[in-house]
Amino acid sequence: MDARLRRVNKEISDCKNDKTSQIKIELFDESPFHLKGSFPGPEGTPYEGGLFEVDIVIPDSYPFQPVKMKFITKVYHPNVSSASGAICLDILKDAWSPVLTLKSTLISLQSLLCSPEPNDPQDAEVAKHYMTSKSSFEETATYWTQIYAGGPGPKEKKGKGVGGKGVQDEVAIAGLERAHVDRFETLGFERSKVIDALRRLNYRGPNIAQITDDRVVEELLK
């Protein structure tokens, strides 16, 4: 058994034996170098209550090269690509150190969810949303946690959100206001296109005052 395999084996059994961290590592298939990690969303954040799964690929020269990790669960976070799940975190790149383990890296991901870094974003649109209106961002992140990560969902304070269970609300997923989307839809544009355009323009919070309707229509006609 080569050193890399032995180390992976140890790391998995270490995770199994540690019940306090709540971090799990499983195999995808027979390969010991393609794993699935999961951890609960940190408390006191929009991700609380969700279970986040991570795709782990262990490179040939592990532990001298960093593990490759990306989210399987969709996450609304400035440093995680909302489309591909790619993660922007220094220890997964040049700040990797061979003493880091799968467990410690997954804990780092967990704490990345606690402290977003919008100035070094992976997903620029999400980062803009975060910078423009944190409360609106958190609402959207909570909604994503609810529909993708099995979270408890938002406290039912605003009428917006899902009508029936299991139905996904595109407007909430995009982090937009229903009223805005409806307004442009009545102009005769396709709903999905409106959502797309408004998201690209970051049509949220104080930004709305700065974006003229003409600008939106221009974007829609593109």
């Binding site: 058994m1 395999l5 180390r7 084996n9 140890k10 059994s13 034996n17 040939d60 001298f64 061979p98």
Partner: protein
């Protein structure tokens, strides 16, 4: 799943803190943070952190900082840690024994718990009185037998453990004899040598009469005929005893110095080949093979030097290690696609999925977009008969 069921010793072999305080941590702290194995040739770097010699050397090739605290570190900071090395070899010996003890102990505790429950439920005086008498009996017998076998191998290492267990008389006798041996050695060392005593020359490690030592060293260790005759006269028994003690000093006098790291970029093929030949390494493969081979050889060779002499491997063994490393590396690099057609058939769904995923982004635009997005796929060079999307993409690529 089978790789998980394979038994790789790690700290979790020991019961958790609540049952066996400190043991798990102890085993963990004897392990290198990089490879997770018990230290193999432990070394310390400038910041004080400890790693296997080969591990930290490999690390420093990538980045010149301590993997643990990120303080800057360098090859030249590496110092061997012979004390820890001794600790590790003792622990390697003791580990299975301690594991056995803890296992028995947890079983015993479990039995006791069970018996206590039984007692509480049945309130039977006869059973409760028989159990405390019974349980220590077998466990005592179990403990003593492996202790004896271990003791036969290395009396000095297990001295303290059996003492705390308070076992039979025979055991105590063995202990006291081994202890007196231990005591006598350091005492002998404490004495300052008298003028006529034989001492070891710190330069050439030959035995010299103490009063002649200065002259001998001034003569650059050449004039040792007198010393030779003395050592012959005084017999070999004393010599043999001292040899073992001074092994570490001897290694300094050998011509075994670490090899320097090289920047290969400035070397010509010829020079690089010569360097390999000089180390008696094969010169098969291409230039990058040579560089990797030489670099890894330096790591292996230097880390071997960081071990104390009895633990070192021979050069022949090191060469075998290098060869194994190279074949393993070659295996990792190649993602062998044995049957290209079958591979494409197998991956067809995957290709289709990727193409599908790429399409809606720029709906309505021409097909070249989808091909662009899917081009970084690790496509094998295809033959023209391969089916479906795969053919389309590869032909566009070419």
């Amino acid at each position: 799943m089978n790789f998980l069921s394979e038994d790789v010793p790690d700290p979790t072999d020991f019961p958790p803190q609540a049952i066996a305080p400190g043991l798990r941590t102890l085993d963990g702290s004897f392990r290198c943070d990089i490879c997770g194995e018990l230290y193999d040739g432990p070394v310390t770097i400038a910041c004080g952190h400890c790693f296997c010699s080969a591990c930290i050397r490999n690390c420093l090739l990538n980045k010149q900082e301590c993997p643990t605290c990120r303080k800057s570190a360098n090859e030249v900071h590496i110092r061997p840690n012979p004390v820890l090395e001794d600790v590790i070899s003792a622990w390697k010996e003791a580990r299975p024994f301690v594991l056995g003890l803890t296992k028995r102990e947890t079983e015993r505790v479990g039995e006791k718990e069970a018996s206590r429950k039984r007692k509480r439920s049945s309130e039977n005086p006869s059973s409760s009185s028989s159990i405390p008498g019974n349980t220590p009996g077998p466990s005592n017998r179990d403990i003593s037998s492996p202790t004896r076998t271990l003791k036969a191998k290395s009396p000095s290492k297990v001295v303290k453990k059996p003492r705390t267990k308070r076992e039979g008389n025979a055991e105590v006798n063995v202990i006291s004899s081994s202890e007196s041996e231990e005591d006598s050695k350091p005492q002998a060392l404490k004495f300052a040598p008298r003028a006529e005593d034989l001492v070891e020359c710190p330069l050439c490690t030959k035995k010299i009469v103490y009063r002649e030592l200065n002259g001998h060293m001034d003569n650059k260790c050449k004039n040792d005929s007198a010393a030779k005759s003395w050592s012959l006269l005084l017999g070999g028994s004393k010599n043999g005893q001292q040899k073992g003690k001074h092994k570490k000093k001897e290694s300094n006098s050998d011509d075994e110095y670490p090899l320097p790291l090289t920047t290969y970029n400035t070397l010509k093929d010829r020079q690089l080949k010569d360097m390999l030949v000089e180390q008696e390494l094969p010169i098969t493969g291409n230039r990058s093979n040579w560089e990797q081979r030489h670099r890894q050889w330096i790591v292996l060779y230097n880390s071997n030097l960081d071990k104390s002499k009895p633990n070192r491997k021979t050069k022949a063994d090191l060469r075998k290690d290098l060869k194994r490393w190279e074949t393993e590396n070659a295996k990792k690099k190649k993602t062998v696609i044995a049957d290209v057609k079958a591979y494409q058939k197998e991956q067809k769904m995957e290709f289709a999925k990727l193409v599908e995923a790429a399409r809606p982004k720029k709906a309505g635009e021409d097909a070249s977009v989808t091909i662009d997005t899917s081009s970084p796929l690790p496509l094998p060079t295809s033959s023209s008969t391969a089916p479906g999307d795969a053919t389309e993409i590869t032909s566009e690529d070419e």
